[in-house]
């Protein structure tokens, strides 16, 4: 785990006020609302939150991969990348960014690869779009990439089809595809969720070592705080379409300020210690539906520190002097956290 990257370096990506709504049969729903954050070069930023909080929508919005005709972006949403706003970029520019400058890998390695094309072809496809390499150079590069992601016998593998590979191997192939043009940002949307634990650890190790080698900034989306602890520098916690806390991994784990972050931490199963054998604490209540969000704090219905003010007025995402951000009227102090820990 590295210390959080110094905030003076210019970020590679700045997301400002990203608001994404969908046209649905039940009217327009806003899946993410005013999401803002920076991603520093070479940083690994974790995004956590319960299912449906908008992690995937955030990442797909950045690459503009959502179905165009159903998606409405907020008028003041900005995705600043290499000096331009991707929200205003045309389709051509977006295509040049996708796969070359910003790459993405997905949760389902079993279905993310096209079943009817050879591994080599799928790797070389990205190179074809983004480089001037000729056919044999592309093949060479594909093999080199497979070797980089530690796939044994890459000369042979390029000629195989996805169904001939295991889930872990396929996710390695996905990583190879994503990194073959040496992007400055890799967005990984739950890259290990579908894999079993040992493979999961291998993939995370691989990502961490590749990040160092290629100096790629990573946005790692997960709902597994264990994964965050293992590889991230900084964490963005999301709840019901909002960023509710943004702090270094260390602070998130040892000094969470938002009651939701605290509740998330309490729900991690810890091995050893007195908690073993006890029922896993889960966060009570349900995530509010996007159709009927509470008018005050979105977490108020489930928050154990909820006060009148919380129900009436939604807190802003305030930045403290140390750079941490939290969206809560009554952020937790260190003492309070410790006290809360003791209770459970």
């Amino acid at each position: 785990m590295n210390a959080p990257t110094n905030s003076t370096a210019a970020p590679v990506l700045s997301v400002r006020n990203l608001t994404t709504s969908f046209r649905t049969d039940m009217g327009i729903v806003t899946a993410i609302d005013g999401v803002s954050f920076d991603l520093a070069a070479g940083e690994t930023l974790g995004i956590v939150g319960e299912s449906g909080c908008g992690k995937t929508v955030t990442s797909k919005s950045i690459m503009r991969l959502l179905p165009e005709h159903l998606t409405i972006y907020g008028p003041d949403s900005e995705v600043l990348f290499e000096g331009s706003d991707l929200m205003k970029a045309n389709e051509r520019t977006m295509r040049r960014v996708r796969g070359d400058k910003i790459a993405m890998i997905f949760q389902e390695p079993m279905t993310s690869l096209n079943p009817v094309f050879r591994i080599g072809w799928q790797l070389e496809e990205a190179l074809k779009y983004h480089t001037d390499l000729n056919r044999s150079e592309r093949r060479e590069r594909a093999i080199e990439m497979l070797r980089l992601v530690e796939i044994p016998n890459p000369e042979h593998r390029v000629r195989e089809y996805p169904h001939q590979l295991s889930g872990g191997m396929r996710q390695r192939v996905m990583i190879a595809i994503a990194l073959c043009c040496e992007p400055s940002i890799l967005i990984a949307d739950e890259p290990t969720t579908a894999l079993d634990v040992t493979i999961q650890a291998q993939i995370l190790d691989l990502m961490a070592s590749l990040k160092k080698k290629l100096n790629t900034a990573i946005m790692l989306i997960t709902h597994d705080l264990g994964v965050i602890a293992q590889v991230c520098d900084r964490v963005l916690v999301m709840y019901a379409g909002r960023v509710i806390e943004d702090a270094s991994v260390h602070d998130i784990f040892y000094r969470p300020q938002h009651p939701y972050t605290q509740a998330l931490l309490e729900s991690i199963p810890r091995s050893g210690g007195k908690e073993r054998g006890k029922r896993l604490p889960t966060i009570e209540g349900m995530v509010p539906s996007l159709h009927e969000l509470p008018s005050g704090c979105r977490f108020s219905e489930r928050c154990r520190y909820c006060e009148d003010r919380c129900v009436q007025e939604e807190p802003d995402l305030l930045r403290a002097e140390d750079g941490r951000r939290v969206r809560c009227h009554f952020p937790l102090s260190t003492d309070r956290t410790a006290a809360a820990r003791g209770e459970t």
Binding site: M63, L65, H69, R95, R96, V97, R98, G99, D100, A103, M104, F106, E108, T111, S112, L113, N114, P115, V116, F117, R118, E125, A126, Y129, H130, Y161, H163, M174, I177
Partner: protein, 333 residues
């Protein structure tokens, strides 16, 4: 793969023999000679026909003899058209059928695949809705309406209006490709696209319009399913264009259902569309079969069914082989 094909062929030989057995038995339930000659044939006429087709022999002898002659397509002589063999008449009917069924099949498949890809990709949007309304309209209107309208506006009306160039013929049929006897002996190859336009283009257009309605809707359902697959978003995230996604990624995945559908329509190549051949007076397989049935031309019917059954079986084997070629997950074994 060749081992597979060979094995499949061997497995299907008994099936084929079974089909022939049933067909021959069925055609003998009503005395074919009586059917052809009417109720009161003279004994000499009877005897001549029975001898001709060996109908006086025990069934098993007839059966074995028939099967032995299949490889040479030797099905005897036509009763109706004396002096011509069944084989000659069948072979002569193939080119006219193919000259409009092959273009119809290809054009219908290609147009409906493109339309369905676009429709599926933009599903729910105005483009898709317009295309689907057109498809439903296309398939809801009867074949006959298209034929009548086509013949009226394409052939009859221009002729009445004394246009210098009537695009299509009202009746008759001339071959547009093949060998022709030349004066002074010998024969020469000839090929005339304009003759094809005159006699074949209109049936092709009608055939395509009707087939497209069904095909487009079928293919669209296939493509819509492909649209929701994860590999699409992977390809998008790689920087692929919509065109690449539709015509490379989705199309290759959709090939299995496409092949299935195209293969089921393949026998149409051989039989021709009976309706189209009748209305456009094309002397193809369909028309030949119908004529033979009307004439109770027993040797013709028997030969035709034998050929048709063989074509069906070969189509099924070919379908399996194509599956394996288009989808790496299918293994022939």
């Amino acid at each position: 793969m060749w081992a597979y094909v060979l094995r499949k062929l061997l497995y299907n030989i008994p099936v084929y023999f079974g089909i022939i057995l049933l067909m021959m038995a069925a055609l003998r339930v009503n005395d074919p000679v009586n059917n052809y000659l009417g109720k009161h044939p003279t004994p000499e006429q009877r005897l001549a026909l029975e001898k001709d087709m060996g109908l006086d022999q025990p069934f098993i002898v007839q059966y074995v003899r028939f099967i032995v002659h299949i490889p040479l397509l030797d099905f005897g002589d036509s009763w109706k058209y004396e002096g011509t063999t069944v084989r000659e008449r069948l072979i002569r009917a193939v080119p006219p059928s193919l000259s409009f069924t092959v273009p119809t099949l290809l054009a219908a498949a290609m147009i409906s695949i493109v339309v369905s890809l676009v429709s599926a990709y933009y599903r729910g949007r105005p483009v898709d809705k317009t295309l689907m309304i057109l498809a439903v309209l296309g398939m809801s209107v009867s074949y006959l309406v298209y034929i009548i309208l086509g013949q009226f506006f394409g052939a009859f009306w221009p002729r009445e209006a004394q246009w210098s160039l009537a695009p299509f013929a009202i009746s008759g049929y001339e071959p547009w490709i093949g060998m022709k006897d030349v004066e002074g002996g010998g024969s020469a190859f000839f090929f005339s696209p304009t003759t094809w336009v005159t006699y074949c283009l209109l049936p092709v257009i009608v055939g395509v319009i009707v087939a497209m309605g069904y095909d487009t809707r079928f293919y669209r359902a296939v493509m819509v399913e492909e649209c929701t697959r994860d590999y699409i978003i992977t390809a998008l995230a790689k920087g692929a264009t919509k065109r690449k996604i539709m015509f490379v990624h989705m199309l290759k995945n959709a090939l299995i259902p496409i092949v299935t559908r195209v293969m089921t329509t393949l026998p149409f190549l051989i039989t021709g569309s009976i309706l189209l051949e009748m209305f456009f007076n094309i002397p193809g397989m369909g028309k030949t079969l119908i004529t033979a049935i009307n004439d109770n031309d027993f040797p013709m019917i028997q030969g035709f069914v034998a050929v048709f059954a063989a074509v069906m079986i070969l189509t099924i084997i070919l379908t399996d082989v194509i599956y394996a070629l288009v989808d790496p997950r299918v293994r022939l074994s």
